[in-house]
Amino acid sequence: MKNHNKGVKLSSGIKGLDEILYGGFLEYNSYLITGGPGNGKTTFCLHFLEEGSKKGEPCLFVTLGEKEEQIRKNAGKLGLKLENVHFLDLSPSSKFFIELEYYDIFSPAEVEREPVTQAIKEKVEALKPKRVVIDSMTHFRYLATDVFQFRRQVLSFLRFLTENGATVLFTAEASAEAPDSDLRFLADGIIELSFSEIGRQLEVKKYRGSDYFPGQHYYEIKNNRGIVVFPRLLFTEKEVNINFEKLSSGIPEIDELLYGGIERGTVTIISGPSGTGKTTLGLQFIKEASGRGERSVVYTFEESVEKIIERALSTNIPIKSMIDKGTLEIKKIEPLIYTPCSFAQLVKEDVEKRKTKIVMIDSTSGYKLSVRGADLTTHLHALCKYLNNQGVTVFLPTETKKITGEFQIAQEDISYLADNVIILRYMEIKGELRRAIGVLKKRLGDFEKTLREFQITKYGIKVGEPLKNMQNILSGAPISIEET
């Protein structure tokens, strides 16, 4: 973990959050976890305490809303172990309702503040906790006579806890009537949680005394795993030494088009209408990589794994033996399960743990349809950049809508992501639909500017000589130069 700042940091108990906080929470500081109902504020805090209890640190959870029993039960479902976490349950019991505990003669501030304060004071002095969670601080708002008193009480309470050796997380239930803006000023750090149709997101809004990874990061709450945070990918992830050697396609004519092949660690868009052979062309490069003993992963968003295997076999790509050898894995990405960050995390983990050298995301439009989230192009850009920095070669089969006619690289403006653009096009010659291949862009070197005929046969991909005697090929209706 990068140590960006001075001061000891305590792990949050959530790997992804520690990455965002560059190590965790600064010791003896207090942090506000804020967000609407159901965002997992309490669960974030429980991870923090579980982490402390694993290390043998005394940990205290002060609950003013939910009952201890209920919290432990919910934590159990999420796979969190709280056996060694101490609880101070100040939530109202059922007696409050049944045994006429209700009162209105004095304000709660007059009646409850003292016993609540006393109970916390006694517990903290007896336990000397290293980690404390207050869930929620909003309760104290109702025990204060006015805003000024509330601010003073919270400040003094947090100081009491930190001066007694604790690092504190506290939650707040912001509402229109009681916004938590004042608590934001009192905390040393703020983590804001939100939930929308594109998924759960968190953002560090403030972190006194430390750098942090800014921006929105996705997270999920999973049974038996609790909270999993997916930090968004940063372009400046550590670069490995990239060797820009040329990777052959294994087809001499394609290599001629590319003046030897595509460079390792680059992004290649294979653009073309449906059925032109984009995936097959990508698999051809992967077949060659497999021959070199390199591992590749195809993330398929549209087609099933079986279909891809079947298609590859019909074009003489020995895909089954590649899978058996472990040089190829095809992963079907089910729609709407992943957020851009969780998908990026999946790819990242695979690359880092299994030394994957080629990644094919099939296809970019499938990615945009299947992955929930806003600004997907930016996320895809970040993922490609990260993979490049790791020396991974990326193929992005990209569908164009128009079968023939007006030329287009992709439906969305993603060509800027690419170091290389290979185009596949249909062309109609004498009433027969044929395909053409060409290279449009190659950032790291020169390439052949001609188009060639491209065929997919049961013996594999076949590419012809440059179509020098034809023009208007990209229009889809080429004409012979002799005719003109």
Binding site: D104, I105, S107
Partner: protein, 116 residues
């Protein structure tokens, strides 16, 4: 030591008020029903009364009349500032109406003035 009668339907109100007044050095008598009040009024050995009218019917005003006839200074405790309640309270002999929740400082000042 002065003795204060407190009447309220809510048991917790009685407990809180009694605790508070005892800490201030007063004796208290608690009542939560007309029956309790009837018994106390047989031998009214209290000096001041606080009558929380919430939850009682119109008969509460007859008891206020009795307190007035006994020359016992009393205050009405009400959940809201209602002109009708204020008028009725003063007509029946109350020294005033205190709106709940009670502000401790003001309450102490009232008790001290009544005790004098």
């Amino acid at each position: 030591m002065k003795t204060i009668l407190i009447l309220s339907k809510l048991i917790k109100n009685l407990e809180l008020m009694a605790d508070f007044l005892q800490k201030q050095g007063y004796n208290t008598i608690k009542a939560s029903s007309y029956e309790d009040l009837d018994k106390i009024l047989i031998d009214p050995y209290f000096d001041i009364a606080f009558i929380d009218i919430a939850g009682y019917d119109n008969n509460i005003w007859d008891y206020c009349e009795k307190l007035r006839l006994l020359n016992k200074p009393f205050y009405i405790l009400s959940s809201c500032n209602n002109p009708k309640i204020n008028e009725e309270s003063l007509t029946r002999g109350a020294k005033g109406v205190i709106v709940k929740p009670i502000v401790i400082k003001e309450f102490l000042a009232i008790i001290k003035s009544l005790a004098r």
